[in-house]
């Protein structure tokens, strides 16, 4: 299956925003699912980057277009950053599970860094359901906070934190969340594993349920290669789940966090 580049915008020196045309993915109704994209255009297979990379479906922009947010970290994302309108990429999706929101429940979305990606779609979904949308969004510095103006248009409450205090509250997302955590019936979080672990600890201490969306390297994205296993604890036993099929969203309280922090 192909996706055609509509627009590719650099948001900073390391973050980019790609709009793709692919009706099969754009028709997705749930938030939190992802797709796989081949890091070379027009179906050229003979290249040194091989595997498709997983990216969250960030926003659905029309009946046949959607977006993804990427951070340049390696060869694959470098290729994406150079994509031009009209380029075709091989994609697979939508794949994975999705956020199960409850109508009317007080919830908060928590995003750290590139973990913002699934939260844009999530915020829109919550709004559509008539829920209040609160987004905590943390980054290292002001330049890492992306799409600030846009986020204000889709959130009722936007709480920004930066590690260096150049924008919003100084510190990580748990700083403002600590005072407010008891107000929420459920938390949905996506970001670096250490941040997710900290948010999960805060939730556990306050008996607030939490679903986390994990970012794991994947081989196939469809459950065949067993390369993206997440260890969860079920009935006191460690069980391995495929991040691509049983995830990427897991009950945070069940994750074996020690196995994820490496």
């Amino acid at each position: 299956m192909k996706a055609t580049v509509v627009k590719n915008t650099m948001l900073s020196d390391k973050f980019g925003y790609l709009e793709l045309k692919c009706p099969e993915i754009a028709k997705e109704k749930n938030a939190g699912r992802f797709f796989m994209i081949s890091p070379h255009s027009d179906n050229v297979y003979l290249t040194d980057t091989l595997l498709k990379r997983p990216f969250a479906i960030c926003d659905i922009t029309s009946s046949d277009t959607f977006t993804c947010l990427y951070m340049i970290t390696g060869r694959g994302t470098k290729v994406l950053s150079e994509a031009l309108p009209g380029n075709n990429f091989l994609v697979t999706g939508p794949v994975g599970n999705f956020f199960r929101f409850e109508k009317g429940a007080d919830t908060a979305l928590i995003a750290g860094g590139i973990g913002l990606a699934p939260m844009i779609n999530a915020a829109k979904k919550l709004k559509e359901m008539g829920n209040k949308v609160t987004l905590y969004y943390g980054g290292r510095s002001k330049t890492d906070i992306l799409m600030y103006d846009f986020l204000q248009t889709i959130c009722d409450e936007l709480i920004i934190t930066t590690d260096d205090g150049t924008l919003g509250i100084k510190g990580n997302v748990t700083v403002p969340l600590t005072d407010k955590i008891k107000e929420y019936k459920k938390i949905y979080a996506c970001g670096p594993n250490r941040m997710l672990q900290a948010v999960n600890t805060l939730c556990s201490e306050n008996n607030v349920p939490i679903d986390v969306s994990l970012d794991e390297q994947m081989g196939c994205g469809v459950g065949a290669c067993l390369g993206c296993m997440i260890t969860v604890i079920e009935n006191g036993e460690k069980v391995m789940k495929r991040c691509c099929v049983e995830g990427p969203i897991f009950d945070g309280t069940k994750i074996d966090w020690d196995s994820l922090i490496r």
Partner: protein, 305 residues
Amino acid sequence: MDRLKTNICGVEFKNPIIAASGTFGYGLEFKRFTDIEKIGGISVKGISLHETYGNPMPRLVETYAGLLNAIGLQNVGVEKFIKEKLPALKPLDTRIIVNFWGKTIDEYVEVAKILDSTERVDMLEMNISCPNIKEGGISFSSSPKAVEQVVSACKKVISNKPLIVKLSPNVQDIKPFAKACEDSGADAVSAINTLVGMAIDVERMKPVLANVTGGLSGPAIKPVALRMVKEVFETVKIPVIGIGGIGNWKDAAEFILAGASAVQIGTANFINANVCKETAEGLNEYLERKNIANFKEIVGRAVSC
């Protein structure tokens, strides 16, 4: 597509393209993304006597034109496979090859015996060469003598299905291993399994894979695999199934010309779920263009004297 029809060890194949073990799950994971019935056969994830949980994470890392994996043969075990996975494959019009392995000769024999009497399983593929688990196979491919022992032990209990033995490339010379398989009654050999390699994370100053080393696959290994298929083809009379970095019809044609009676496609399934189907179509067009009635006519054409 009569040009692609073949018969391997008495089993009819609509085309010689097989999805390689470990890359196609239990056969149905790709159902949403491709037409499985366009594929000649599927070699399912390596099955063992008992359920196996595999290696710790990280298990995968992409390298230049390659993929290093150390999954560790995670599988549900033969009993669960037959009860929970195989029934779903029954209605599919494609050949089912079950890859299997054991930690001891007794385990190999036990699994082989069970699979041999299992309906719907068309062929068995013995893995004596997974580089990723300590007992799993590697010791059996350490010497031709050890290969002979495990293959002949399994052959004694297999009476219904043809046995393919999957060879390791991690040996000084693959030829005596292929010969040992043939001499101990193997009906076919497949070559090659992954090449042992490693990658290091320079920031953490540690190996990327939790298992330290892993098996390299993908286009990076194709020239090595092709050379080994040629060597095996020149050594044995039983059919050779070529594996290693195949990603399109041209790659498949190269393996056939080097002596492969069928090919398996692995890593490329992750990149393009339709790769097996497209390879079969491309191969058919190639044969048409070359006016060759069936690909069997050109098996080994580039190398045989």
